[in-house]
């Protein structure tokens, strides 16, 4: 410990000094950056954003309306700019106290009073024993002390997943897709909130058992849960009038489980769901049509057929909801439903911006607040199959990139510098080079932490890679050489063959 900090007060003071230091190192924002009178020190796409925003402001000033940009503008209903919502972050809470039959259990639930559609709500529940007797609760499985449900007022007893319909509603035919999605939208209602430790998961497998925990007089349990406030296209369910219900079921003795529960103690608090500013009123078809046109969903459907079981006619659970400032479609096969396809559609351009297979009922890997599943299977990001570079094109003389060293062992570092042009951000493809030509070996893909992970495709299948975001290479990229057989390879930083570096793996 230095002389500078000797107490926790000094620790907090040091944080403040650190903030002083950092804040002073950032140039202050100049308001005239917004007007374009001075060049903005930001990247081009952000400058375009500002220009676009200024155009929107101008439109709003002239017409009082904000239009959501779209290549299907004829289908999009304008939003009155005066009605754009503001979310009040204030918390609301309610407490319910059980009667003598529940031995004085007190349940308090606290939520934000307003939640933006398509965002995650955090719910705090406190269960306090104000009675004279010890009460037991079922702490087996995931040790969830209270069931918490969020949904439209009056529908919170309908527990069900909000991501997808509760029953298979689609037969896989593109012609019936829009109808199925609309049908599924009618089912979007309440959902059971998940513990924070399972944030983002669609399913929770919490086997109840006889593990009972006491809640002694005067003691309390604190439980934090999270709910995804997904809403379907069209008007908000219940006009946005939602409620959160937290319910605790206790037992007077361990042996009373599960046959003799005490009466549930249920705390109920209202909250308002407000429409996201970016969520315009679009017809379902305006969202489903580009998904069908995109082709990735329709190409995936045949792969879900169960081989050798013609009796298992495949149908699908579907759900199209507003989530994190965009439209998100989930499709899960009725049979072999351990995988689901997730498709995201940009609400402004109404184009598919991401399609992936998510395994095991968890959140997609790009879900920022999701709980990580230990040992979970990574998402399969679906792109159009790519063609490998022509034999020799990119390797040897004239290659568009250089690998250093050019002879390496598996597990060693290799640094690749592109000579010209742009590269795909976060993507590196490795090809096996033989006398017969080149073939894909696998893909090094930057994960959210910035380190690269190795992905391969099953033998005989084309590898799928994410969309290419072209950037200038700022500095040579360094990778750990994957565990490949000795031989000649090339590492490409683009989807084509412009920036490929030949290298050799030795034993």
């Amino acid at each position: 410990m230095s002389e500078l900090e000797r107490s926790s007060d000094d620790v907090t003071a040091a944080v403040r000094r650190w903030a002083d230091d950092l804040a002073d190192s950032v140039p202050p924002f100049q308001p005239d950056m917004l007007t374009g009178r001075e060049p903005r020190p930001v990247s081009d796409h952000r400058r375009m954003l500002s220009v676009a925003a200024a155009v929107v402001v101008a439109l709003a000033g002239v017409g009082g309306l904000v239009w959501v940009s779209s290549n299907r503008t004829a289908d999009v209903v304008p939003i009155d700019s005066a009605s754009l919502p503001v979310v009040d972050g204030a918390l609301v809470s309610a407490t319910a106290t059980g009667d003598a039959a529940t031995t004085g259990i007190e349940v308090t639930v606290e939520v934000p009073g307003q939640v933006l559609a398509g965002s995650r709500a955090t719910i705090d529940v406190t269960i306090r024993n104000e009675g004279p007797d010890t009460v037991f609760w079922q702490a087996g499985g995931c040790a969830i002390p209270a069931t918490v449900v969020v949904g439209p007022v009056g529908e919170t007893d309908v527990y069900g997943p909000v991501r997808m319909s509760r029953d298979p509603v689609w037969d896989g035919d593109p012609a019936t897709f829009a109808t199925a999605v609309m049908s599924a939208g009618d089912m979007v209602g309440a959902q059971v909130a998940m513990p924070i430790s399972m944030a983002g998961w669609a399913d929770r497998a919490c086997g109840a058992n006889s593990a009972m925990e006491p809640l002694a007089p005067g003691e309390q349990l604190d439980y934090q849960a999270t709910a995804e406030i997904r809403v379907p296209p069209g008007p908000l369910p219940g006009d946005g009038a939602y409620e959160t219900v937290a319910s605790f079921v206790g037992y007077l003795a361990v042996g009373d489980y599960p046959q003799q529960p005490l009466a549930p103690v249920e705390a109920r608090v209202g909250l308002t769901i407000v429409g996201s500013p970016a969520r315009s009123t679009v017809p379902v078809e305006a969202v489903t049509a580009p998904i069908v046109d995109d082709g990735r969903l329709t190409a995936w459907i045949p792969t879900t057929v169960i081989p050798g079981r013609p009796d298992l006619e495949q149908h699908y659970l579907v759900g199209l909801t507003w989530w994190r400032d965009g439209w998100e479609l989930w499709v899960r096969p009725q049979w072999n439903g351990s995988e689901a396809m997730r498709v995201r559609v940009d609400p402004a351009s109404l184009t598919v911006v991401d399609a992936r297979i998510v395994h095991g009922g968890t959140a997609a890997d790009d879900e920022p607040d999701a709980a990580v599943v230990p040992g979970g299977t990574p998402d399969e990001i679906l792109t159009q199959p790519i063609s490998p570079p022509e034999a020799g094109g990119g390797a040897g003389a004239g290659a568009g990139a250089t690998a250093t060293p050019s002879v390496v062992r598996a597990g060693e570092q290799i640094t690749v510098a592109a000579h010209t042009g742009q590269i795909c951000a976060g993507i590196a493809l490795i090809y096996t080079v033989t006398a017969d030509g080149t073939r894909e070996a696998g893909l090094l893909l930057d994960d959210v932490s910035g380190s690269a992970t190795w992905h391969t495709a099953p033998e005989g299948s084309p590898i799928t890679i994410p969309p290419c975001q072209q950037v200038d290479q700022q500095s040579p990229a360094t990778y750990i050489v994957p565990n490949l057989a000795p031989g000649n390879y090339q590492l490409c930083l683009t989807r084509e063959s412009e920036a490929c570096a030949p290298f050799e793996i030795i034993t």
Binding site: L4, E5, S8, W18, L22, S43, V56
Partner: protein, 142 residues
């Protein structure tokens, strides 16, 4: 006037959440949003907190959540071990410490900015300070 009031606090908050080279872009994003939604933003009790969320959500950098160290050329006013200790905290705890003690925000303001409850802020803060004390080997100052 609005920018003059809000910008220093917002810049300070964002400098603990993004690499400093990305903060100017994030500030631009936030004030573009405020401009477009001025009718709503001007009525807000805590527009800085709301714009902090806007800037966070629109900063799609993978480097979000990284806490830059003190400027190397600055006076050594910050205990070096604190940098390591702060970076070892879970993201939510780190954000809460930064906003409460680095930026002087109230628990309620932090709760609104991070979309958590005020009680969660208090819990995160308490746990974070315990971990920081342990890491730095200091006792709570009574």
């Amino acid at each position: 006037m609005f920018v003059a009031d809000v910008e220093p606090g917002l810049r300070r908050a964002l400098s603990g959440h993004l690499p400093v080279d990305l903060v100017p872009d994030a500030l631009s994003e936030a004030f573009v949003y405020a401009w477009v939604h001025w009718v709503q933003v001007r009525k807000m009790e805590n527009p800085g907190g709301y714009l902090f969320r806007v800037a966070q959500s629109r900063s799609r950098s993978r480097r979000q959540g990284l806490l830059a160290g003190p400027v190397p050329s600055a006076m050594p006013a910050v205990e070096p071990a604190l940098v390591t200790a702060m970076r070892s905290l879970p993201g939510q705890q780190r954000s809460v410490v930064w906003l409460v003690h680095g930026c002087g925000w109230s628990h309620r303001e932090v709760a609104a900015a991070l979309d958590v409850s005020a009680s969660a802020v208090a819990t995160h803060l308490s746990r974070a300070l315990v971990r920081l004390r342990e890491h730095l080997g200091v006792a709570a100052h009574e």
